[in-house]
Amino acid sequence: MRIAVLMKEVPDLIEELELTPEGRLETDVLSYIPSEWDEQALEEALILKEESGAAVTVVAVDSGQVDDMLYTALAKGADRAVKLAAESEVLTNRARAALMAAYLQQDPYDLVLTGVQAVDDLDGQVAGLLGGQLGWPHASVVREVKAQGEQVQCVQEYAGGWMATLELALPAVLGIQAARRPPRYVSVAKVRQLQKTASLETVEVTPLPAVELPVRRLYRPAAAGHATMWSEDAAEAAAQLVELLQSRKLIRS
């Protein structure tokens, strides 16, 4: 079985997000990390490889900062890493999905795993966009992917803790919510080591047509309310908690 894992790097939300006066994100100050759900998707693919001998390819749209992420994936056990060359640097996610769909048409895989969503655009739409564009069965918000010959089994999650076990015929696209095990760790030293021998492939593709809506502006939510902030000192804040709970009769006074 050939598995493609689509991976993307996203801004680290621990850092402050700065906006330009035009309502664009100030990108120079951002630091990037691999999208956590993509790391879950990669882990699930590597577990499938261990169980059934799949070949795992990690695929990223080349934004200029995906090399570390891809080398790390190779060091963890992926067999190939592919960068999709985009003509323009700023792509909407719809355009990126169209690029990925075009690639998947020319280099066919049995199973494509994406992260369930990514924190930057919070879209969670790539699995569906690819499924729709390629005409493949697809399911998002899934876990526990098992290969069974010409099909895969997985668990899909719904609201309130409901779930279902699904079987999908291959080729299929799955949006991964969580891997069966926490993503494996690989040391920086091992990644550096591998970087000397392994190489990343670059593939040029012409995106399939897609309808795009430009984002007019980004802005901070006007907080409907904001917490009354207590002291940042733990002991003082704890005393303020106790006072509040006493006044609300939530603890005995």
């Binding site: 655009d121 966009l129 729709g132 980004l218 804040a237």
Partner: protein, 324 residues
Amino acid sequence: MRPILVVTENQGAELSDSSRELLSKALALTEAFGGEVVAVGFGEGAPETLKRSGAHRAVAVGGSAVAQYASLPYERALHQVLERIQPSLVLLPNTTLGMDLGASLAAAKGMAMVAYCCGLHTESGALVATSQVYGGKLLAEVAIPVEEGAPGTVVTVLPGSWAPEALPNREPVLETLLAEEAQGMVVRETIAPESGGDVDITRAEVLVSVGRGIQDPENIPLAEELAQVLGGVVSCSRPVVDAGWLPRSRQVGKSGLTVKPKLYLALGISGAPEHLQGMKDAELIVAVNTDPAAPIFEVAHYGTTADVLDFIPAAVEAIRERGA
């Protein structure tokens, strides 16, 4: 304007809350732009719940292929509905259904797509959608084309984005559609939510809820101690469950449980939209998070940027001193 199609979900024998939100918004938009609202529902209960949708027209998709949710047969049936209705706008809840079907319909039908929408309003004759981005730290604004020749737009809306108006007492003109069996996808088994086991977090009055900021499974007993002195129980965010530090029955949020305790203490939880969905209606919310820009502070009533690992022992001590 061409019709607005609302894809509804049922919750027991009723339309789900998010379906009612979408219907009430769609009806308000037809007042601004003209046109009709068409509601589509699936499964045995659909003809009955669609009667109460307030829509102008409704399509009930039935047959064994859609007796339970599966994206493929639902998608095939929606393709037929879209062909027939040619909507200018398709609204879906941003639930698993919306995440499965929203984008695939847009891609297959050459329509535009707005995901994670939390606001839809008119602005001098135009339709503007707002979506949450960057984990809810920013909002993105997009103008949706509604003129005659526009390709149509699919919008998936976060449940709970606005309060639904009462739906009009109008019985829609109902059509039925028999869904075809779809080769390529089978639902083997439906699994009910894990029962609380030892504790039921939906019944607790006090929840001490831990997120990734708790850092290590060895710190969970700290939270348990605080819960104990407060007479409550420990709940958590999703990553804590995925890491195996607490059982799934303790998870609060979109794919976990919805809770409404008297006190919700959020310790090291950022306040992602999927988490807020499960706890924002708690009576009193106190958040402890070192990041002053964490979205949790927007729903919390009180907060501190103290380190949770300092705060928890301090709180246990303070409560023991005064409470004893």
